[in-house]
Amino acid sequence: MKQKKYLVLLVSLLAAVVLATPVLGACAPQAPAKEKVIKIGYLLDLTGPVSVSLGKNTLATWLTPYRDLNDRGGINGVRVEPMWEDYAFNVDRAVAAYKKFKDGGAVVIHPITTLAAEAIQPLSTRDRIPLVGNSTTDKLVDPTQWHYTLSPSYTQMFASIIKYVKDNWKDTSRKPRIAQIAWDAPIGRGHIAASEAYAKQIGVDLGPWEFIPLIPLDTTPNLLRIKDAKPDFVVLQFGNNISAVSVLRDALKLGMLDKVTWINGFQNVNAAVSNWEAIGDGTLGISDTIFPEETNIPGVNALFDTLGKYIAPDPATKKPYFDGTTGLILRADLAVIEALTRGVNKVGFEKLDGPAVKDALETFKDYDLKGLVAPLTFGPTKRQGQSSMRFFQLDFKAKQWKSQTNWIQSPAQYDDTGKIAFK
């Protein structure tokens, strides 16, 4: 009897609470006045499987553009404050970090890697906070979403490889064959269907497609299958250097190293060359980044000037250290700063929010980042700033990637609906 009484009391209280929530909500304390600082979110992998490719890069280097901006007075006197979180390549942590940024008032978020961008893209679109980064898969250029990328996609990268191989193929008796060994993840799988269609179109054979785990211990079975197919080129498509080194080490054991031309995808090229050791010399690479040796590029010298104010020089080079990966991140920082500047100039600091930053990004028309990337153009239906990249060859003695081509636009382009088409 008593239990029934308590149950009735409990249900009544619960009902009262639920019915009273609108009233209680109206009595909640009001949000405090906006402090004079622009908050942005910075979602990065300081730990996790992708972090190993960060090499000697540091967080301080990546945040230098904001530090420099603030030291020069900010944007019309307003500081820009990056809130950063290490999400360790874990979706749960990426989403939690995103919620923290949103709660903290971030008007734009910079996810460093593809997993983070894909994880938070639907949420940021719902919450009207633009993302700016270098990650590009086919769904990250969806014009209905709020992700703006400065990079070509993996589909565009592979299409460029196919075209490069076809254009430079001399043997008229047969078609060239390109195999791929990649992570068992969207980075390795997302471009396959479109690439096969394009390869068929221009007369290149593809396959086999081999997939390995994020930190592979032994890739011999995969390489043996590739060896049996006798490809002319093998594309290495990973998010860290460890995987590439593992594959090439196993290829050396199998005597395959000098039997094929190895082509390194974006991430392998972007990471530090010091991990390549005695293998990989002469391999090709494809990337849309810049390297510190390219002092003929005005943007590279500008980066050294900025970094030199805050980052201690690397003993080996006597200059602040940065590599291809950092080049990507720094250029995205500069793009974010430009977008924030345009936004503040247009609507003022008080009214700067996610939609205002989105509108500012969409005013980018051939925006020149001093050669750090091909000119950027965004628009209401254009989420990809540019789709050009360059081919490199590894010079191990000099420990450098040497550019073999100018900026080449990919034969694959996204239309206004986000669908890809090949020229």
Partner: protein, 349 residues
Amino acid sequence: MLPCGTFNETYAQDMAIVRTRLQWGLFIAAIIGVLTLPLYASGYIVSTTIATGITLIAVMGLAIVTGYCGQFSLGQAGFIGVGAYTSAILVSQLHVPFLIAVPVAGVVAALVGLIFAIPSLRIKGFYLVMVTIGAHFIIVWTIIHLPKLTGGADGMVAPWANIGGFTFDSDTKYFYFVIPVVILMTFLARNIGRTRVGRAFVAIRDNDLAAEVMGINLFSYKMLAFAMSAFYAGIAGALWGPFLGRISPEHFTLLDAVWYLGMVIVGGMGSILGAVLGTVFLRILREVVSYLTPVVATAFPALERFAPATFGSIVFALAVIVFLIAEPRGLSHRWEIFKASYRLWPFSR
């Protein structure tokens, strides 16, 4: 152990989970406190509570199969994936109402769990763990290789939850759907341990040979434990999808399954309270680490990248190790000792 002066005089009192007036009062206050959270807490706290609640459902499932039945499993993340994809497919492709898709996702995950429970008849311990790891990889492989159904490696959109035309398209709204589900699943899990089935699980855990001799059908009860555990995982997965907006195979990693097991260990195996305490403890630990990392990075710039970045990994691993060594029976046991201590005070010294 009951408070001094409180005696069970009827079977109903003996069976009661919430027994005294004080316990009822605290229980009601806790429910009110949780349900009114969006009114006084920030959006981040609300979303973290939702994530914790969903994780708790998965961990309670693991507590049933591992804690109650003694069958170690590292396949929980895979079963969560089954639930998430089932619910997303039912809602987005077959237009099944979300309220029906959630329990169906649980049932489908339970059926998948039954399949991988079959080896438990013959193997146990470390070998069973390897089977559950294999289950995880098989599930992920299947998801990737059914692109027309699941989107393959690219994943698929998980629509916002919609019940009767009302869309839960914000964290605050979704909070009021998830939390009652968490309360319901906790109530069910707590009561499983008090039923014939729950006692059979415990008997199998303590001594499966003796349990078999007593007449407990080992195979069917082990299968049931896995099915129940996978059911809970499926429910958790069905709730994850709308919270994230998009699901892909990368959302359900083996490392997550390891951390779920860690939560069961830290909280204390063999009790649902342990699952609750372990989940909340490790979640709070993560928030503390997340808060401290930039603080340490700013205070010690020379360590900047290395020490703070590895804080999270080191702290979580250390927490599990410390609990295994210092308190193998977990936080729930510590809580029982604390309760006994203050009830017997000053005679507890």
